[in-house]
């Protein structure tokens, strides 16, 4: 049980550390941003607190030192410096190693502890770590000394649920303004959950009472996401006829706020219903505070009731927030999601069979059911696939750190800019993208971007830039890594290609073809092998990784200006919308996203082309691949064949098939070890009738066109 909790702590802490790293890197760029400071502080605070709770005392003790400093930073007593951020990043790494229990460098830890302790002005001796669990007492009957009330935070913005204490007193003759107090209260109540306590103390006896005067005043505790101004707006027309005091008692933004709230005494004190002296005197007596306050007659019963309501309200708001947080994000092991996606894949297959069977029965009721199942299955599929979608930004932030550390190591000044971090991709794809991306970025830093003096001599900004972008395009994501470095040396690559026997010396190649030579196995242009990029692994490995994701990679470069590497990756590896065709009595699927149109190919068309594999599509000549020929068909071709015109990275390529069957939701299956290296096929899928259709690897097949055309 405890181990399980520890495991959960580890996972959560790892996440916190990752966020912390982002915050620190951001903080380095904008040291004035107090929100970031608060974020860092909160992360440290949480790690310390839960670390202590789950027995990671070393983590708690270490983090305490860092937290102390950030507490001071938060209060403006210690400035944010580059030094602080560097030390904090190092501290983060140290916590990370303490967490995993690997590579723990104790000397380094002590060094950091000392460094952080020295940052505290007046440098107190190390304080003992608070590892005791926090007091979960309920407060009302608590004799503990009262802490000063928490400083009231600045007005929270709209959208976050904040809780306000509103003290409202109306002018007795408010009715003369034409405003009904009932209306005001109702309007206020509509802003959110609330507790209202009307104070009746001013109501005179019946013979003294003027029936048209208002004697009541209120304490209202209101939780709303509309912001402070919305509350003020309620009273906009009676501003001069009321006494209004609004305090923020819970800004709704501190997710770590204990559900526990201020004690009754503190609330009354904060409201000014009681003085500190009165409170101290009462606390001296040995009774529950609520009772003491009543007995002492210092505070009327209803004020206590009102304070109790405040306590209750804030607790409720905080409890709900905690509950909402747990409800809005549920931690699920990745394997379970993968299993779910697999099952949905099976379901999609079965559903296709159902639809087919229903269609053949000509039973309208069955067809209706099948259609409903189809709709539900599609929704279920989209939903479960989207569950595995993660913003690619999770990896982007790792790269920020990589660039920061590497540029220091290389003595270069390099900035990483990113855009499209919110672009979502299947989790498994993101994981598999990590290594190739790291490699490419390292490459850009090491070989692409020049040393500052070289840059200056070339009239460039001393600071080099690597731009990382991600964007959706159709059913794939395009990722680019762009640097403003020296670019690729076309001639050097060509020579190297000849030297390595990849091309002949008299080959006529386009720039793109030459650049893409760097993806050939064993190709590396770096004259000095630095410990930054490339030790054994080259760009060919990157290309292979991208290929395995059914993606493509290309490079564009301009000497002296920089290089851009573009990677296209399908959104998900699990299911693809495809067009089903038949060739030689077998079914094949090709991704629907690349299909432009289907045209007929008659015997006459073939004859007109004089043996060349070209077809005229609305006055445009499109090369095609006869799949029958490719797959060594044995049966006779139909009189009229079909050409599926596809668009592959801007090039139109046709695929000649016997028949176009229709659309299909293809759950992608691997062909297994035995056939995984079969060229021209990227997998298989199961059709409605239970048979297997093969998925065409159009990119590979299309290469034959280029070769033929050349």
């Amino acid at each position: 049980m405890l181990d399980q909790q520890k495991e959960i702590f580890r996972e959560e802490a790892a996440e916190l550390l990752s966020d912390l790293e982002d915050s620190l890197l951001e903080l380095e760029e904008s040291p004035e941003d107090m929100d970031l400071v608060a974020k860092v502080f909160r992360s440290m605070h949480t790690i310390k607190g839960s670390g202590a709770m789950f027995g990671f005392d070393d983590i708690a003790a270490f983090t305490h030192e860092v937290e102390t400093v950030y507490d001071l930073v938060r209060n403006g007593e210690v400035p944010v410096t580059k030094e602080l951020v560097s030390k904090s990043l190092a501290a983060r790494d140290h916590i990370s190693s303490l967490l995993s229990g690997e590579d723990i460098d104790e000397a380094r830890g002590e060094e950091l502890v000392t460094a952080f302790q020295q940052m505290v002005p007046g440098q107190q001796p190390a304080a003992p770590v608070e590892t005791a669990p926090e007091d979960l007492g309920y407060g009302l009957f608590d004799d503990a000394p009262v802490e000063p009330p928490a400083p009231v935070a600045e007005a929270p913005s709209a959208n976050a649920d904040a809780t306000y204490r509103i003290s409202l007193k109306l002018d007795r003759h408010i009715i003369n303004t034409g405003t009904r107090p009932d209306g005001l209260l109702r309007e206020l109540a509509e802003l959110g959950p609330h507790q209202m306590v009307a104070h009746t103390g001013d109501i005179p006896s019946l013979d003294q009472l003027a029936p048209e005067e208002c004697y009541l005043h209120w304490d209202i505790i209101l939780t709303t996401d509309q912001g402070l101004n919305a509350i003020k707006d309620v009273f906009i027309f009676v501003e001069d006829d009321i006494e209004l005091k609004i305090d923020v008692i819970d800004d709704g933004e501190d997710p770590d706020a204990d559900v526990d709230y201020m004690r009754i005494g503190e609330i009354l004190l904060a409201r000014g219903d009681i003085t500190q002296q009165e409170l101290d005197e009462i606390l001296g007596q040995n009774k529950p505070i609520g009772q003491k306050l009543i007995d002492s007659n210092v505070v009327p019963q209803e004020k206590i009731e009102s304070a109790l309501k405040e306590q209750e309200m804030v607790r409720a708001a905080r409890t709900q927030r905690k509950a909402q947080e747990t409800a809005t994000s549920v931690r699920v092991p990745a394997e379970r999601l993968d299993y779910l996606v697999d099952m949905v894949g099976e379901l999609v297959t079965v559903q296709a069979r159902l639809s087919q069977a229903a269609g053949m029965r000509e039973d309208s009721e069955l067809v209706a059911i099948a259609e409903e199942v189809e709709r539900l299955t599609a929704e279920l599929r989209d939903n479960s696939l989207s569950m595995r979608m993660l913003p690619i930004g999770t990896t982007f932030s790792k790269f920020k750190r990589l660039v920061r550390d590497l540029s220091n190591e290389l003595g270069k000044d390099i900035e990483l800019k990113t855009s499209g971090a919110e672009t979502e991709l299947d989790k498994t794809v993101i994981e598999k993208l990590n290594d190739p991306m790291v490699h490419l970025i390292r490459n850009s830093l090491d070989h692409g971007i020049e040393a500052p003096d070289v840059r200056a001599a070339a009239g460039k900004q001393a600071t080099g830039t690597v731009l990382l972008t991600a964007a959706h395009s159709g059913d794939s994501v395009e990722i680019t890594i762009q640097d403003d470095g020296k670019g690729l040396d076309r001639d050097a690559i060509f020579e190297k290609g000849v030297e390595k026997g990849l091309i002949s010396a008299d080959a006529k190649l386009s720039d793109t073809e030459i650049y893409n030579l760097i993806f050939a196995p064993g190709f590396s242009t770096a004259k000095v092998v630095s410990n930054v990029s490339g030790r054994g692994v080259g760009m060919d490995v990157v290309k292979r990784s991208i290929d395995s994701l059914r993606g493509s990679i290309s490079i564009d470069s301009q000497q002296g200006v920089g290089s851009t590497i573009s990677i296209r990756i399908p959104l998900t590896l699990a299911i693809v919308e495809s067009l089903l065709v038949s060739v030689d009595n077998e079914s094949y699927a090709l991704p629907l996203s690349i299909v432009e149109e289907c045209v007929e190919l008659t015997r006459q068309d073939i004859a007109n082309a004089h043996g060349r594999h070209l077809v005229n599509v609305r006055d445009q000549i499109v090369p095609y691949i006869p799949l029958r020929q490719e797959f060594e068909a044995i049966s006779e071709p139909p009189d009229v064949e079909q050409v599926v015109i596809t668009n592959l990275n801007g090039n139109r390529v046709g695929f000649v098939v016997d028949q176009v069957v229709g659309q299909h939701q293809s759950v992608i299956k691997t062909l297994g070890r035995m056939c995984k290296d079969v060229k021209g096929l990227s997998g298989a899928t199961i059709l409605g009738d239970g048979t297997v259709a093969l998925i065409l690897d159009v990119n590979h097949l299309a290469k034959k066109v280029e070769q033929e055309a050349a």
């Binding site: 009746t200 009472l209 009541l216 209803e302 009731e305």
Partner: protein, 119 residues
Amino acid sequence: MLNIQQDVEQDRLLLKLEGDATIETASQLHQALLEGLQNYKDVQIDCSAIESIDLYALQMLCSAHRSSVAWEKSFTYSGILSPAAVSAIATSGLKRDHGCSLCPDGVCCMWAVSCTSSS
């Protein structure tokens, strides 16, 4: 419109409120309550037929109760409260878990849960 029906049984006056007990009818209610408490030992108020009631009326009930205690008389509810009355007590913030400090021990507060919800 507020209709106040008065029923007298020995020392006891029953005031039955029907309709709207609001600022418009506040004087009418004030007069009835004041006269009632001045002339009878035991005043009961029936709020079962109230269609709407506002703060002004509610604070008057509070005042009447308090006065009754001071004048050593009795002022209580008779019968159930109409839904409009129950909700008005809640939305005005008068509803209490316990009676207020101005209520002497043993005398039921007009706004305590135990009184407003009982029949």
